[in-house]
Each structure stands twice: as C-alpha cells, then as structure tokens.
Symmetry: C2
Subunit: 369 residues, 2 copies
Amino acid sequence: MTQSPRYTPLVQSLPATVPFVGPETAERASGHHFTARLGANENTFGPSPRAIAAMAAAAQDVWMYGDPENHDLRGALAAHHGVTPDHIVVGEGIDGLLGYLVRLVVEPGDAVVTSDGAYPTFNFHVAGFGGLLHKEPYIGNHEDPEALLARAAEVQPKLLYVANPDNPMGSHHPGTVIADMAARLPEGVLMVLDEAYIDLAPPGTEARIDADDPRVIRFRTFSKGYGMAGLRVGYAIAAPGLVSAFNKVRNHFGMGRIAQAGALAALADQDWLAHVRNEVATSRDRLTVIAHDNGLTPLPSATNFVTIDCGANGDFARAVVRELAARGIFIRMPFVAPHDRCIRVSCGPAALMDKFAAALPKALAAARG
Amino acid sequence: MTQSPRYTPLVQSLPATVPFVGPETAERASGHHFTARLGANENTFGPSPRAIAAMAAAAQDVWMYGDPENHDLRGALAAHHGVTPDHIVVGEGIDGLLGYLVRLVVEPGDAVVTSDGAYPTFNFHVAGFGGLLHKEPYIGNHEDPEALLARAAEVQPKLLYVANPDNPMGSHHPGTVIADMAARLPEGVLMVLDEAYIDLAPPGTEARIDADDPRVIRFRTFSKGYGMAGLRVGYAIAAPGLVSAFNKVRNHFGMGRIAQAGALAALADQDWLAHVRNEVATSRDRLTVIAHDNGLTPLPSATNFVTIDCGANGDFARAVVRELAARGIFIRMPFVAPHDRCIRVSCGPAALMDKFAAALPKALAAARG
C-alpha cells in the first residue's frame, strides 16, 4: 500500500530531530527543578502591570476572535515608530513572521546568507523551505558586515540575515554600520534585520533606515524588552508592498485577543520599558562582576543577557551548563565554535543573580573536576 | 534595478485580496457598531470561569515562553481522548495546523479534494502552497461522501477535506458515515477531518477511527464549544508518525503561556462544556422559532449556529446581511450558490436572540424593498 500521507520530497529530506529544547523539557529530562530560569533570555522583570491588567481583562472577552487586521495595535506601533500602519505587519512572534517571510521568497535551492552561529530558528525556516544557507564566521564576537556583504555579492541570496544586537554573543554594531550595510546591499537582496533586543541596546544602535526602503525588513518583538515572551507578539517594519505580501500567506486570525490587548497596553507604558532598561543594566553589571569573581571573561552586552567566556573549549562550557542545571540554574550557550567557549546568562533581579553567583563556583569546580 | 524582494513565482501568482474580513473591519468600513456579534460562530456564552481565572493567572507569568512541547496540554488531551500524547499535536488554532499540514504534503500541482463552499481557510492554505483544489458540490445541505470518494479515486489527491459537522450549513453525518469514508479512501489519500464543531453535535456524530490509522487526521479546537476563539488553540489527533512530522515545520514556541494554561483549564471543566451545550441547544431552538416567525426556513443544526434559508437568491441574502449590519447585527452567510440563499446566525444568550428577533423583520422588509 502507498505510504500515507505522501509527504513532499522536501519534507522527507528534513531532519526529524527537534532543535528547540525548552527549559521544561530539560527539567523533565534531567529531573532537576530550575529555581533560576536564566537560559532563554526571557525578561524576568516581567511585563508592565498595565499590560498584565489588560491581558486579564481581555481573558473575559476571549470568546471573540482577535481582529485579523490587528488594526489598533498596528496603528499604535505606526505612531510609535513614525510610520504608517501599512508599514507594519504583526505576527506570532518574530519566529512566526520569519517563517512567513522565508516562505514568501525562498524556493528550494535559493541562497540565503547569515552568520555562523546566529539565530537557529531563522535557519530552521530557511531549511524548511529548501533554501541553501551560506554562513559567514563572526569577526571576533561580532557579526561581520563586510564578510556578509561580500558573500551576498558572491551568491546573490534572496535574504541576508543580520541581528543587531546579536544573539548569542550580546554584541552590537552602531546603527550607522547597519544603515551602511543596507545602502551597499547587492541588487535583489532583502536584508532581514532582527532587532529583537534593540529596546535594551545603547543609544545609537537603532539604524536609520527609511521604512519605504524595499531592501530592508526589520523585526521587533514584545518578548524581550516588553517582557512578554509567552504572549507571542512580534512585528515587522517594511515597505507597504512587502507588508501586504504577508497577507497572501499569513494566518489571518493568528493574533489572539489577549495577545493584541497585552501588546497594546505594554507599548503604551514606556515608563515600564525604561524601568526594565535600568534593571537590565544593573543586572548586566552584576553578571560582569560575578564573571570576574570567578576568573571568567564577560563580554560587553547590548541585550538582556551576558555572554561569558569560560576560557576553555565547548566541552568545558557544556559541562558548566550541565553542572549549573544540576544546581537548579537554567542557562544556555552558543551552538558553534569558537563561541561555544562561552555560556549565556539572562539578566534578572538580585535574588536570581544571587542564586547564580552561589552556584557558579561549584559548577565550575565540578566541570573542572 | 532588480525588484526587491524577489518573491517566489508561486507567491507572485497568489491573489493580493484578503478574503478574511473580521467584524471589526466590517464595523470600521460601515461605520456601524455591532451590538450583536453573531457572524463568526464565536461562542457568546464564553469560556469556563476556571479558564478565565487560569488565563488571568498566567498573564503574570507571560514573561516566560510557553513550553514548546505543550507537554501538559498534550497529556491532558491524550487522557481525554484515550490516546497517547504522541497522537496529539497542538497549534495556533485549526487554521494554523491546517497550514502546517498542507505544507507537509502539498507541492505545486498536487490535487486536493474538498466540497464546494466548505471551509475557505483550508482552500487558502492549499492555494498558498500551489495545490489544485477539486471541489465537489454538496448533496442538498450536506457534504457528499460518495461524491468526495469518487473524486478522490479519480484525481488521487494528497488530501481529502471533510468537516463533520459542516460549516457553513450546520449539517452533520453520523460518525459511522465518516468512519466508512475513512475505510474506503483510495490509497495514499489523507482524510482531513475537521471536527471544530463536534463538541456541540448530537451523540453519535463522532466517528470511531483508530488514532493510529495513518489515513486520517482529525482536527479539534478550543474556539467553539470551549468558547476561546481569541486564544488560538487547536489540536489534531493522528498517528504518531504524522504528528512528529509537524515538528519539522511548526513554530515550536508558537503556543503561548496563557494559551496553554487557558486550554488546560477549559478542558478540565467539562461541566462548563455541558452547560454551554445546553445553552446552545436552547438558542438553536430560539433561532428556529425566529426563522419560522419570519417565514424563513431554518436548517437543522449540529453546531453553535443556525443556517437559515431565506427562500430567494444570493443577492437577497446578501441584502439581508447588509440590512442587519445597518441595524447593529453582525452575521455572515455561505459564499457559494446554492447555499448563498441562506444566512448563518451564531447562537447566543436570550438578550442577543432578542436583538436578532427585533431586527430581522425590519432587515427582511428593507431587503425586499
């Protein structure tokens, strides 16, 4: 009998492994309960109390579908960014939007350029639509604009991915460097500018790019600075032609009622975002001190995490991650060498930092032992 | 200069029109405020109070990503249905899951069979991946199992879509008819059994199909009986091989924290579902009376809406929809002839039924005038 279902050849070629291990999965697998959840770059300072109230109120109305046009939220985002609602598409986190974007442009065999060790979910989508990833090494701890542009000139990719600030290294380029990249893109290359962490970056990190420029789409999220990773609201700013192309493929009713209400309230509370920014800065300083106290090298961070060079190889860093997990501390680390000499620790309130500070020396000793 | 971005040829061929007009869009376009929202088959009786409380509580924790494995929810659903968690995939509403399924199997040019006038979002996804839709007419007000099977034998589709109960007609087949269809599927055809409304259908509507049968995938939702359309939680029951194939393409962190918590609490409150079932039955009876009072013909319904034959053509029914909207009553109607002789009205509490009953005679008069 014919195999049912008859998957596409592309799907048959995709790996069956699941690269996305959540902290709950790690807890179940290890039997350890995490008392400090510092691995997913979640914002442990939480969302605006006004957003929490708005979500709780919206729960009463959740029998209604959310507005498929995301009218009010797009309007508020447009006002916030000084663009029109036609420049804004809202979707199920940056992850969901990246999936739609790749689907819009990538066919099997199409070239895509990114950095080796950059955001794996983007790579997941590219592979999932049959694109061919060309990965450029970082230059030190930074994505390498010149190398990315040179590779783009060589392989004429449909997409060129760059994150600013970068995950997993926490580094950033001044906005002028990114704007210069955009100006020098080869013809027909769309720059995917992932600004998930921009709300936590130093002044000047945001690139000045005309929202009508058809060569760039920039992605933002309510998951990081706004502290609502579990709400799943991201958005992109792009030229209206590209924004409307998303309507050809997106899940039109995909943004729920609570999600839209929470995002709208969070956006309106910029004081809370400023508060979070301060708390994150304090926590970054604390993580820097903790790293130094343990003879490790913290990297400068423009995000809500600090990447810490453990001074050895990937096996050692993996052992540190494992030993921290055994002590109830959930962190993660970069996937590829040479970055996998590092661990990556999310910011958090003092009590969480205390737990990390207490566990790290023991974890390091165990990893060395 | 080369056009940027370079869309795929398939995407270029897709229509730019947006077929998904939400009630908010209709309100904005018409300037009418809807005082009765009876067009989207939302459950106006609302979700379980326990689910509302769970969602409000989860709003506090929304800084955390939801578990990408949906472990607890899949476990509870498995227990509820007497299957294993490996038989369950959870996703962003049935809409989102249908998109993933189509992507898994449909390549440009692949045949897909459905009924003419059945769920348009399924068609949207099939067209969006380049599939060719073969549409069989309904037989009367029912999807036509024999015709669907004959067409499947002819065109060897990758997918055969059938909804039981049906939207937009509200009709249903006994579960035995659906199980018989499944047993007689041509080789290599996957039956997409959309059971969005099953929680509101009469006993015996649910088909007995082995969850390990690789020829069938059945879709369920928290949007209808459970009253949480704006939460975006659907799931599918299928053989483990097919369930795990979703992991190759799905948005792994797509199910948010509030969504998982709300669905879990709703599932645990089966008393509330029974309450809703009673309320819906009462409202169906009321809509039947209202239709008769106005000289119209209500169709029997196995859902939370009643489709009402207005006894004329599509132009007349469209006028009725328009005239009701002008009076603050939002309803919808089937898209295609001959079903577009009908209007479709969602069930609701007595106060909403009163509003509909008051507005309908005037709307009919205006439509006739």
